[in-house]
């Protein structure tokens, strides 16, 4: 079975994010970029499915600027077989990303599409669900376990209150949560091999999708910062402050 994995290039999660002084966005100049952590988990899950003999081929797709090919190569080094780069320098919002991925799904006809549940830049948590709706597929979001059985996939989902398991007809969309797996690191030989794996580049227009954002960002500000308070000497002082100063107990 063919598995399609979508990955996104985002700011590295360890980088301290700074808002631009003109409030037009976040400063990304000379900032370390990386694969979105949830997308790493998506790649890892696909690779594990291949190691178990469930997946036969892993195609990895990324939408974004030329530099997004780095993240595709990373996924190829981790075990994906082939890459697709949809190149654009425009801001691509979730609905358009879902439309682009739909076009790829129609061409590639994967049995399973795995995406991260959210990207740590826009924190939208939308693309996988939108793709599932546009392609008429079922979805297992916030997955902490994925088990393929025949023509179905059982997905255990992290939900408010605990865990919930759904069975989906294949083809289906899965979005990953943090506890699905622990991604491996790419070995040096695999990084070298990845350079020779096929990577197809195309434009949104090649896929018949027009990039026309529906949301415009009017401004981006730094959050109100919290002032550090005081250190208390002991538990008795803490309880006294909570009761008599803050009045919260």
């Amino acid at each position: 079975m063919k598995v399609l994995v979508a990955v996104k290039r985002v700011i590295d999660y360890n980088v301290k994010v700074r808002v631009k002084p003109d409030n037009t966005g976040v400063d990304l100049a000379n900032v370390k970029m990386a694969m979105n952590p949830f997308c790493e988990i998506a790649v890892e899950e696909a690779v594990r499915l291949k190691e178990k003999g469930v997946a036969s081929e892993i195609v990895v797709v990324s939408i974004g600027p030329k530099a997004a090919q780095e993240q595709i190569r990373t996924a190829l080094a981790l075990g994906a077989d082939r890459g697709i780069h949809i190149e654009t320098d425009e801001e691509v919002q979730s609905l358009e990303a879902a439309k682009l991925l739909k076009a790829v799904v129609e061409k590639e006809e994967p049995k399973l599409v795995i995406l991260g549940k959210q990207s740590i830049d826009s924190d939208n948590n939308q693309t996988g669900q939108m793709l599932a709706a546009l392609t008429g597929m079922g979805q297992g979001t916030f997955a902490s376990e994925v088990v393929v059985e025949g023509d179905k996939v059982n997905v255990t989902r992290e939900v408010d209150g605990g865990l919930m398991t759904v069975a989906l007809n294949l083809p289906a969309v899965v979005t990953t949560d943090l506890r699905l797996n622990e991604p491996r690191y790419a070995s040096l030989p695999n990084i070298m091999k990845a350079k020779k794996k096929p990577l197809d580049a195309m434009s949104p227009a090649d896929l018949g999708v027009e990039i026309a954002p529906r949301l415009s960002t009017l401004k981006v500000e730094a959050p109100a910062s919290r002032q550090a308070g005081i250190k208390v000497a002991d538990v008795a002082e803490l309880v006294d402050k909570l009761k008599n100063e803050a009045k919260v107990i």
Partner: protein, 313 residues
Amino acid sequence: MSILVIAEHDNSSLKQATLNVVAAAKAIGGDIDVLVAGENVGAIAEAAAKAEGVNKVLVADNAAYGHFLAENLGELVAEVGKNYSHILTSAGTTGKDFMPRVAALLDVAQVSDIIRVESADTFVRPIYAGNAIATVKASDSIKVITVRPTGFDPVAAEGGSASVEQLDVVKDAGLSSFVGEEKAKSDRPDLASAGIVISGGRGMQNGDNFKMLEQVADLMGAAVGASRAAVDAGFVPNDMQVGQTGKIVAPQLYVAVGISGAIQHLAGMSDSKVIVAINKDEEAPIFQVADYGLVADLFEAVPQLEEELKKVL
């Protein structure tokens, strides 16, 4: 303007988050209808009809919606919602699951996790784990929105008298089915809406030690939360995780015990009114956001806290 709010509930009671979402709808302005979709939800519809500011409650009561499967809810909400100017729901795991499907079916963008309403088409939302706050304007004719409950004070649960109307729209997409669930049972308040939250991190060392926090929580009527590290290590279940990718909480009092204060954790609790940190490392970043910091070994401080609280509560 007409606004459709999709109620959050568990087939047995209406979640408070629904009242926060109605408050967001009031901030937009216009007639507010509430859709209650689920199975055997008569009592929930009655509860929704009493909420302040609600015009009409629509009820879709069918087994197809019993487990809130996104494929079925998505079709239902897109069908019912297409005549409204705004469709809102809470950014809980159910809303996050079905709402983007609604947006895609209506071919409109979704604005996720709003914390403020600027106008009928302009909303404020955190991005980059709350390190930046964006003001976004939506140009689609239907605005599909998920609301972060902590951004809005809830409307009153009582006092309203909306009419209740049964819908007979049954959407069963036939793509998915419910297999089972493991719900953590707890008599403590709901983490997302509790007035006091006490959370433990990796410093707790194991799940048994969380009992110390539970005893303190029970004295204060608090909910118990955790950092990702504590959940990943298997100390406690996933639904206790507070943070960028877990629950967002904003209680009156948040007590962080053995939690370092990573940005992803702060994203879930930094809007709390008063923050207390107990950590043995005085350099821990959590102290930069704490109103009251106690540098101490938690294994001494937490039992003392329990004793001191017993004296004053």
